[in-house]
């Protein structure tokens, strides 16, 4: 079945961003197909802004006097640690909303979309706000750049070194956690190294640590200077050498390519020969992420029907996409974190070091029903009466202030872009034309009888609004 130009454009905007912003849709439609991808890339050139939401008190403790700055983080006393933790919890929510807003409003859709990918790939749970905002900055700056640079910078970030216990990785007492996850999750994938490779690599990473202010530090005295053998190569390696060795493995390119393919193209149907071909070029071009995306987006199979509408939106993609499709501003911005909690994807709180498993695991009875009701909850100012699970790592048994917040998603909906876009569409064609805009399934048609029956026909305005709302309250809208 032929794929329409409209569907193609929407597909591209969904897979390389968070879907079209309704106000921008007409300008996108007017662009020739041959310019779409270069335009998308053009919007993402330029340096992202560094988000600084860390409270001054936290910075005072962590960055403060030069004396303190040189201390190891382990030396922060208990009360100060508690203070950092408590304030960080608040600040992390602000960082969450700040980044969410970027995804919604930024023209740099491609960068933020890939940043979300790397945020899951380099999953790190760390309560320290300063380290988290540093890691996010590394990821956003390198999201479209070179994977090697990204890997090196992430591996030297305080957030990752702390999360994977490398501060405790010392010559006399090696801690293998960091070395293991670097190989298993960041580069090679399971089954492409031995336990001995991990042991040896862990020795190479001894001495890698961070200072209180988040700066990377190499502690020579804790480093094992001896000879190591990693993936068949032998020498007195340090951490940088091991990362170089890992990047010289074609398997690293294959592993990253497969994961990006699953994120951008199709989570379930992944032809191995295609991955190998893409990975070969990715490797040859020294891990240029944009180069890999060029290859993917420029391939005819990118627009094959089996790859369109085949992806279940992640909770963040769903929420951001919803706010781009139907612009609204929650009165309480932090209520958006409750939505993330309830749907199973809270930024900065990946479920474990492997990130969010994604795909069908997003969907269970309760998350699906909430997804279907979400547009109504927003637009009808309904009670968001969902209690989410406590996170004891965040809360330290002190209860969660978020739970006590007003659990309402009260939002001011701006219908203008939707009314502008569909204002001239005749009643009889409204549902089908809207479905073509809101759904990514080439063959899906809205059931007109049912739609009509449940539409508020008392005015033209209401007809447009209710029809639009209904189409978003469907399984089809969960896909992109």
């Amino acid at each position: 079945m032929p794929v329409s130009k409209q569907l193609k454009l929407q597909h591209l905007l969904w897979r390389t961003g968070f879907g079209p912003a309704t106000a921008d849709w007409k300008s996108w439609e007017s662009r020739p197909e041959s310019t779409w991808w270069s335009k998308i890339k053009e919007f993402s050139t330029g340096q992202p802004e560094y988000y600084d939401v860390a409270d001054n008190a936290v910075k005072g403790l962590l960055l403060g006097a030069g004396e303190i700055g040189r201390m190891e983080s382990d030396n922060l006393d208990k009360d100060k640690k508690r203070q950092v933790r408590r304030q960080s919890r608040e600040d992390l929510r602000n960082l969450n909303v700040r980044w969410l807003n970027e995804m919604i409003y930024s023209k740099a859709q491609l960068r933020e979309k890939m940043a979300l990918f790397w945020h899951g790939h380099f999953a790190s749970r760390n309560i320290n706000i300063l380290y988290q905002q540093q890691l996010l900055d590394i990821i956003r700056k390198n999201a479209l750049g070179n994977f090697g640079d990204l890997l090196r910078a992430v591996s030297k970030s305080a957030a990752m070194l702390a999360f994977l216990n490398n501060q405790q990785n010392k010559k006399q007492h090696p801690n293998e956690n960091f070395a293991r996850e670097v190989m298993e999750l960041f580069t090679l994938g399971r089954g492409n190294y031995t336990e001995n490779d991990i042991k040896e690599a862990a020795r190479a990473f001894t001495g890698w640590g961070y200072e209180l202010n988040g700066d990377f530090v190499f502690r020579r005295r804790a480093h094992d200077e001896g000879s190591k053998t990693v993936l068949g190569q032998t020498g007195p390696f340090d951490g940088d050498d091991v990362l170089d060795i890992l990047l010289r493995q074609p398997q690293t390119a294959v592993y990253i390519t497969r994961k990006i393919y699953r994120f951008i193209v199709n989570e379930e149907i992944v032809p191995e020969d295609r991955i190998q071909a893409l990975a070969t070029r990715f490797f040859q071009r020294q891990y240029s992420i944009t180069g890999l995306l060029d290859d993917i987006v420029g391939s005819p199979w990118f627009y094959a029907p089996e790859n369109i509408g085949a992806r279940i939106k992640s909770p963040v993609e769903l929420w951001v996409g919803l706010r781009r499709t139907l612009p609204f501003e929650p009165q309480d911005p932090l209520s958006q974190i409750l939505v993330q909690n309830a749907l199973g994807q809270t930024l900065f709180y990946p479920p474990n070091v492997a990130g969010w498993p994604g795909g069908r695991t997003w969907i269970d009875a309760s998350s699906l029903m909430l997804r279907l009701r979400l547009p109504q909850l927003v637009a009808w100012q309904g009670d968001f009466n969902v209690s989410t699970k406590d996170d004891d790592d965040q809360n330290m048994g002190e209860g969660d202030a978020l739970r006590d917040r007003q659990k309402r998603l009260v939002s001011e909906v701006n219908w203008t872009p939707v009314l502008d876009l569909f204002g001239k569409t005749p009643d009889a064609q409204l549902a089908e034309q809207m479905a073509r805009y809101l759904w990514q399934l080439p063959e899906a048609r809205p059931p007109l009888d049912v739609m009509e029956e449940h539409t508020d026909r008392s005015s033209r305005d209401k007809r447009i609004k209710t029809t639009f709302m209904q189409l978003m309250a469907t399984p089809e809208f969960q896909l992109c």
Binding site: Q376, S387, D391, G397, W415, V450, Q470
Partner: protein, 406 residues
Amino acid sequence: MLIKRREFLKTTSLATASLWLPNFLHEFGRPGVLAHNGRILVMLQLSGGNDGLNTVVPTRNDIYYRERPRLAIARETALTLTDEAGLHPALTSFKSLYDEGQLAVLNSVGYPNPDRSHFRSMDIWHTASPASEIWQTGWLGRYLDAQCKGCDRPTAILEIDDTLSLALKGEELRGIAVQEPKRLYDSANSPFFRDYLAVKQPQNSPSGQVHDDSPVGYLYKTMAETMASADYLFEKSRAKATASNYPNSELGRHLRTIASLILADSDTSVYYLSHGSFDTHINQTGQQERLFRDLNEALGAFAADLKANGRWDDVLVVTFSEFGRRVSQNASGGTDHGTANQMFFLGGSLKQKGILNPMPDLADLDEGDLKFQVDFRQVYATLLKRWLKADADDILGEAFRPMGFV
């Protein structure tokens, strides 16, 4: 926004709701689960890391009293179980059940290379993975996968909450999370959803089969199962709503819901619920006591209710926590994250009762924490094999020798 809520979300009566159900879901009589043997497991998660040493107190242990000058529970205050063990004074219902031979305690349950992070350790308990591996499915979810091949709704395992825990997520199937059956029912059965599903479902699986392997097919299948489950659970929760008194706490309400479903012979074999937070780094005494009072009242009411209705023999309540706490108290009147912990088993048909194994050895610690003596996966294997009659080896991915308490 002017659309009226009721235009969209009118609630419907059960009678009309069942009319729209696609044919393949129509018969309530069809089992949600194959092979439900009438036995019920209630998994009660004590979230946050309950302090086991102040739960089953080692009343003759000098090390305990030495390491906890501020927090220790005095021998005279504890509810005596044996010569060397007593219960936290708030757990009076537990004490009664113990006296009646309907409670068992398994000490020092844990796993090798314990992780002291809440979420990681809870992950390990939920997935039943070795500590060195990351698994994406839960042990009860895999039980559902095994039990529910080809069944119409995943009501075999039910979490009483708004969101679903990893423990109940399988490879193919996911259990249901429901805080109140009526609320799920109300939100699932909006007239629009109902009509919409009724026309769309056949279109998406032209052969009339439930299984369409595409993502959209999966979404429709989940939607249909959810609506069928919502109907089923709502009907069951009302059919024999228990008349007994339960405390008006969250846990009380949740156990009341469970009791109602059990009394109405819901095809659910595993109920899952959480209580907490037991993460008592500061001022532990008051917080643990408050949580235990809730726990004690709610479980006491639950046991009494099921006994009065002749169902207590079919039920096994199991408690666990992601870890226990450090033996020594900290400087803030609390305790920090530890390792091994005890599990309680409560029910009318225990084969072994009382304290099943030795009290923790406080003289032989690993960096200030208890060493585990029993792998929790051996307990899971016991619950799966002996109680639920399932293929434990397959579900756990490894063979563990079942224990004898059930």
